[in-house]
Assembly symmetry: C2
Homo-oligomer: 472 residues x 2
């Protein structure tokens, strides 16, 4: 006699794997059910599952091989070292056209690919028109070959012929090199299958002027560290396929001085270009003047409680309020909290200093921390959560969200802008300010960077003055 089946636990609780129908039936019957989105490996294909099982039997060997392979990808040290004609760089002979992707027969090529191939043949002067060019390809007198077979890569149609200049990237970790053409820009360009005279004219300019000059500049510079530049660009919103604005700007800035040097420009231009390339905070002063320019017209509006100036002189923190003309309301500055350069500690710091808080006055700086998680390491625990928290907190004391300064990480919500004296006093939340930290001893210079609060007292004084202006 078989033993009785054990009773189901009560109340019944179910975890359902895979097909949702079972879960739906149970849920309809009032049984709590957790649905797990499980699918059988390889979509349930038995042949593929068998192949996977065969590979699984060699798992350790494969893992070791993969560790070696991925190790070589992530330890690569790509440097942009030169720009030279493809004929030289790739050993590319006449009458060879490189194209993107795997090998391709002319008969199977899509229209933009065909248009680009014929245009490249015209550009090289191997044929006078598309018909003649097509004849060369069809008779095998022009040979098609993937870029990848020559260590090169091309965007879209990816065409490379011998006179086109290519960038040379050297992997300094492993000693190998790879190549790509100069990006042609937007609009009608060869890589998208455009083929008119403007396309050909641009290709000639790239070969005659741009390529040689870029090559000379890169050799002058001794190469540019692309891993560092790409890591930085990734931090700046580029994924480097559809968006390259950060990487392109960083590269342009890095190339300015070498280009000036290579082209024999004046030493003045070259030195200024080097100065621009070496100063990540160059824009701060421009942002400040922009802040002053946009805040000033908001001053002098009777009854307005908007803060139009916040500024520190190292002794006092002062604010001005729109409805209170040019009056200053001051309180002693506070000490910034921050991170210090090696060799310095908090005791070396000067109290809060500078007009740069005009940036916070117009909806940037501290209140825009959510756009800049890297900066949040100066405050509290740091990271994304802290950055979001700071921006959220500043929303408590402002009048608006900025319609032009929007933050992708907040799904395009605007930065908090327009500090309201009433809200600061009411909530006790004071503006948070991102700032550099000066040494308190004369002659020291910058010793760190951090955050500081505006002192509440100057907002209280302004509030009192506002109440007076409203007196009957």
């Amino acid at each position: 006699m078989s033993s009785p089946r054990p009773a189901l636990p009560s109340p019944l609780r179910v975890v359902n794997l895979g097909l949702e129908g079972f879960a739906q039936d149970l849920a309809a019957a009032g049984v709590p059910v957790v649905q797990v989105d499980w699918r059988p490996p390889a979509g349930g294909d038995p042949a593929l599952a068998g192949l996977l099982a065969r590979l699984d039997a060699r798992r350790e060997q494969i893992d070791r091989a993969n560790d070696a392979a991925i190790g070589r990808v992530v330890d690569g040290e790509p440097w942009l070292v030169d720009c030279v004609p493809a004929g030289d760089a790739l050993g590319l002979p006449a009458r060879v056209v490189l194209h993107a992707g795997p090998p391709l027969d002319w008969a199977r090529a899509c229209e933009p690919m065909r248009a680009a191939i014929l245009c490249a043949i015209r550009y090289e002067g191997w044929a006078a028109d598309d018909d003649a060019a097509r004849g060369l390809v069809e008779r095998g007198e022009v040979h098609l070959e993937p870029c990848h077979h020559r260590g090169a890569v091309g965007p879209m149609t990816g065409l490379i012929t011998r006179s086109m200049p290519v960038f040379v990237v050297e992997n300094r970790r492993h000693g190998n090199r790879a190549f790509a053409t100069i990006n042609e820009g937007l609009g009608k360009v060869l890589r998208f299958g455009a083929n008119d005279e403007t396309v050909v004219a641009r290709l000639h300019w790239l070969a005659a002027d741009a390529g040689p000059l870029l090559g000379a500049a890169l050799r002058q510079a001794g190469g540019i560290d692309l891993r560092a530049l790409m890591a930085q660009a990734l931090r700046m919103g580029d994924e480097m396929h559809q968006r390259n604005v950060a990487a392109s700007s960083l590269l342009a800035r890095a190339l300015m001085a070498p280009l000036a040097r290579a082209e024999g420009a004046t030493p003045m231009l070259e030195r200024l270009a080097s100065f621009l390339a070496g100063n990540d905070q160059f824009f701060l002063n421009v942002a400040m003047a922009a802040g002053k320019a946009v805040a000033d017209p908001a001053a002098g509006i009777a009854k307005s409680t908007l803060v139009t100036v916040m500024a520190r002189n190292g002794t006092d923190f002062g604010i001005r309020v729109s409805g209170l003309d040019d009056r200053w309301f001051t309180a002693p500055v506070l000490m910034p909290l921050g991170l210090y350069f090696p060799g310095f500690v908090a005791d070396d710091a000067n109290p809060d200093l500078g007009d740069s808080t005009i940036v916070e006055t117009i909806g940037l700086g501290g209140g825009a921390m959510a756009a800049s998680p890297a900066v949040a390491r100066f405050v509290g625990a740091g990271g994304v959560a802290e950055a979001m928290r700071v921006t959220e907190e500043m929303r408590e004391i402002v009048l608006a969200e900025h319609p032009h300064f929007r933050i992708p990480a907040l799904d395009e919500r605007g930065t908090p802008v327009g500090i309201d004296v009433r809200r600061v006093v009411e909530t006790g939340i004071t503006p948070l300010i991102n700032t550099g930290i000066a040494g308190r001893k004369a002659g020291t210079g910058q010793i760190g960077a951090g955050v500081v609060r505006a002192p509440l007292a100057c907002f209280v004084l302004a509030l009192e003055a506002l109440a007076e202006t409203l007196a009957p």
Copy 2:
């Protein structure tokens, strides 16, 4: 007789506002309690609460005034238009030193402020050394004044004297102008109270060379739209107080061609500089060559299932796998899904095309979408959640997280890198690729941008070949 008090509801549930002690007592007694962090307005100060109440009585008038004031802040159109000596721009006479913050008596100035003031006096030649300079200040023969009183702003000590060049920002919406000095860079600089000969020498260079050249370039350029530039930089991780790397790079790129023109550099340099400034995708080809350079050394490792190449020729999608040498595994390309330029629709699109997928092969592009929420609008609902979801999904099919390519929005977690043929076949998840879209008719060029999947079939073919290499 009073009516009986209604009984407390049972079970008792409590929301406690303010002082946590009550909530703690109730919680200790087993009563469910929600604690609300409430504080009385103005920290409970009765005088301040009274002031706030007085302002509240005029709420409508204040709101109208504030709407006008904040409107003027957010509609500002700051343009960087010139760089000229402060004497000219601010009408600044000799023996006046502008400083940051509210008005400041010498007697109350902090050390870095004093050091900078004396250094500025030496720089201007009004005194030969610090002692003589201090005498001038103490006798009132040099006058101190806030930058803000002259429409200017200065970072940290914020010093401005007449011969220093200042940037001129014009608010084209309201016609006013504001001013700030040129940022001196890092290290020993006047704004942080450094005062040695290197500081003075740099100030002389800024006045003699950098300022005039920047001014000439800005006049040449007809000004630079700072609101657009700042909005872009905010999207690139700058909050523009402590972090200005994006804004500085964007500005440097924008200044390259005008600087070359102003300095009479060769037309070749000027045209190349314009080309660099006008092409946000300039870096794509460089990223691709970098991708090829770092992927190539991972090829040819026996038994490795790592994908080392993904590439499209407009007809076929091809991959190569480390353990399978140079063999191509191909399948027909798929159609990208995306957004189209005005005048084009999905029917005009060519199938997937280009070697640019090398970028996805090394851990950028589609898999790095979380770094680039703006790009996620091309896929599904778009925005931050979609961007995060794509990066999460790609983690399912890769071997590693990139140790150098890290994403601030993920608290510095690395991008997914190293596509594993086994994982693709097992999960049925294929690599997501960000891509441009070409018109399918010859000569059209680019018509949009979007996303596309790699076809599963080429991974299946590769898996079969891998299983063969493992056959006993």
